[in-house]
């Protein structure tokens, strides 16, 4: 599926805007704060059903407007068009305006679009993926799950609620306002949903691991000296630790439930003291090693960036591959995701940026925002359409000189 048109009404800084992405590479340029990221966000919102940075939907609506509308025109390999329309109510919206998603005029559940088209979003913050807190790496894994596994997507929402309820109950027990026996129900939910999610994440890590070696080598191809040398290993670090020694080889949710219960029983007292749930997918992490050493503490910045690019490439491949297995079509370009690169080239040296862009373009339709066009790899500077954003206006700029 390929994006042929993005059109916005009353969305964030835009009263109205229209973008016709190129099948290959599209550049969105403009000064900082002009609204470049809003365009990528709009695509992300239409595809996944929610924003990656707005806390509430109404933040997406232009100030003073009752609603915002995002339209995506898509086209498959036979050039069959489909049309997606998402309406998001604003603060001022009357009760008749509700969030709704139409696909070819038919009403669908928001977030169900990932069966039709998928997106990979690459933000500059993700350059810190390997050294940042574990929650960053969980979000990376969950971003893949949300688009490829409907059950896991729902489990993630439920888990957040179970953990919040359970934490409140733990605090009530600590204050002697509740009985420990009341934990039984929430423990059971935590174990059932948590085991399913851990198994789903372990499976995603295994599939990323299958791809990371080749992709890492491809990105590192031009690195100087032995910067790119060494094997990359990915390991899902679960909070069941001691209870589940052979974790790497196990992935069935049913097998995790027993150890999960055991571990919960072990930490019960500590959980009550802390007033928080200490075991579960919300405490897990992804460990990345290069040549047998933890990258967060041992790899250079350059090495880390190479690995992060390889991870995002693997994510792109995985979201495409997943659709192939579900479709009858096999490996055709329609399964390729839309890749949204939000100002990431400013974080990369020219060599690495050029290689990364090449590799991403082989795997998806690419839209890139940048403040400074000189960060665009040289060989693309003359061949690519550039859309210029300024003060809420979007227009196709003359080719870059």
């Amino acid at each position: 599926m390929r994006l042929t048109r993005l059109s916005l009404e009353q969305y964030r800084s835009y009263a109205a805007a229209e973008l016709h992405p190129d099948p290959g590479l599209t550049i969105i340029a403009g000064p900082n704060g002009a609204g470049k990221t809003n365009l990528l966000e709009a695509i992300w919102v239409a595809v996944t059903g929610r924003s990656n940075r707005a806390a509430a939907d109404h933040e997406l609506v232009r100030h003073g407007a009752p609603w915002a509308r995002i339209r995506l025109d898509l086209s498959d390999e036979h050039l069959n068009p489909s049309r997606v329309e998402l309406v998001v109510p604003g603060v001022e919206a009357g009760p008749e305006v509700r969030k709704r998603l139409l696909v070819n005029g038919l009403s669908r559940r928001p977030s169900s679009l990932t069966e039709t088209v998928r997106a990979v979003l690459f933000r500059p913050e993700e350059m810190l993926l390997l050294v940042g807190p574990p929650s960053d790496r969980r979000r990376f894994l969950d971003g893949i799950l949300t688009q490829s596994d409907r059950r896991a997507a729902r489990d993630l929402v439920d888990l957040a609620r179970v953990v919040a309820q359970r934490n409140a109950l733990l605090r009530a027990i600590r204050a002697d306002e509740a009985q420990p026996a009341q934990l039984d129900f929430w423990d059971e939910q935590l174990v059932t949903i948590g085991s399913r999610l851990m198994a789903a994440r372990v499976a995603v890590v295994a599939r990323l691991a299958e791809r990371i070696g080749a992709l890492h080598a491809a990105v590192a191809a031009g690195d100087e000296g032995d910067e790119g040398a060494g094997e990359v290993r990915l390991e899902y670090l679960d909070s069941l630790r001691d209870a589940w020694p052979e974790r790497a080889s196990m992935a069935a949710a049913g097998e995790l439930e027993g150890p999960f219960r055991t571990r919960l029983a072990e930490v019960r007292q500590k959980e009550i003291w802390n007033g928080s749930t200490l075991v579960g997918p919300h405490r897990d992490d992804l460990r990345v090693e290069l040549a047998g050493r933890d990258v967060a503490s041992h790899a250079s910045r350059g090495q880390q960036r190479t690995i992060i690019l390889a991870l995002k490439l693997a994510e792109t491949e995985l979201l495409a591959a997943d659709r192939n297995s579900a479709d009858t079509g096999g490996a055709d370009e329609t399964a390729q995701p839309v890749v949204l690169l939000d100002d990431v080239f400013s974080e990369l040296d020219a060599e690495r940026a050029a290689r990364a862009l090449e590799l991403l373009m082989q795997r998806g339709q690419v839209l890139v925002t940048m403040a400074d066009l000189s960060t665009l790899p040289k060989r693309h500077r003359h061949s690519v359409a550039v859309w210029q954003v300024d003060a809420g206006q979007l227009r196709l700029a003359p080719r870059v000189a």
């Binding site: 559940r109 059950r151 439920d158 306002e177 509740a178 009341q182 939910q189």
Partner: protein
């Protein structure tokens, strides 16, 4: 609020406290009240006061009832099956089930569901009243009709434990596909639940 005279601002504020009513709607309701006749305004005010003064809780099922009708009209109806109790979260749930005409027993209204996050533990719902009720009299079946969400399930499980051994049987309403729905549009969890709860086809 700037530019508003005090009585108007006060009414907007009061309307704004109602569930589902935002600033805009509160203003609209207020200006509507300004345009209506004094009698209508008085009738509304009287109805508001009456709902607090003349409505109480049934001493048997905890549902709302008129002050001088206790037990409530359902609990006081001798034709209804006294051996079956349907447990629901809110008075509105009773109305929904009554509309179906399918259930002829009596109710028990919990006035909430267990939700630690909102500070609602088992002691905050009318569970103790239910236990007293079933130990006072012989009950064949208690049907747990709390909502099929996390809090409703937590409540159902808590009550099932509490009631076990005290009544003939404890049942939970079924979860699954909506009538008139399409399989292909059902979400995965609902579909899974309806498979888990599948039944033998009864031959005519």
């Amino acid at each position: 609020m700037a530019g508003l005279i005090a009585p108007v601002a006060r009414l907007i504020e009061e309307f704004g406290k109602l569930p589902g009513v935002g600033q805009k709607t509160a203003q609209r309701l207020t200006y509507h009240m300004l345009r209506t006749s004094a009698e209508e305004a008085r009738a509304l005010a009287a109805a508001l006061v009456a709902v607090k003064e003349q409505v109480g809780y049934c001493s048997v099922c905890c549902n709302i009832t008129e002050r001088d009708v206790d037990p409530c009209s359902i609990c006081g109806d001798a034709r209804r099956d006294a051996l079956r109790i349907c447990v629901v979260e809110e008075p509105l749930d009773v109305l929904a089930i009554e509309r179906t005409g399918e259930f002829h027993g009596r109710y028990h209204v919990l006035h909430g569901a267990i939700s630690p996050m909102d500070g609602i533990g088992p002691e905050r719902i009318r569970a103790r009243e239910l236990v007293l009720r079933v130990s006072d009299q012989e009950i064949d079946e208690v049907i747990l009709a709390t909502n099929p969400n996390l809090e409703g399930e937590a409540t159902a499980m808590y009550l099932a434990d509490l009631l076990s051994g005290k009544v003939g049987s404890v049942t939970r309403i079924a979860r699954g596909l909506p009538v008139g729905g399409d399989l292909e549009y059902a979400d995965d969890v609902t579909l899974i639940r309806s498979f888990q709860g599948r039944r033998q086809v009864e031959r005519a």
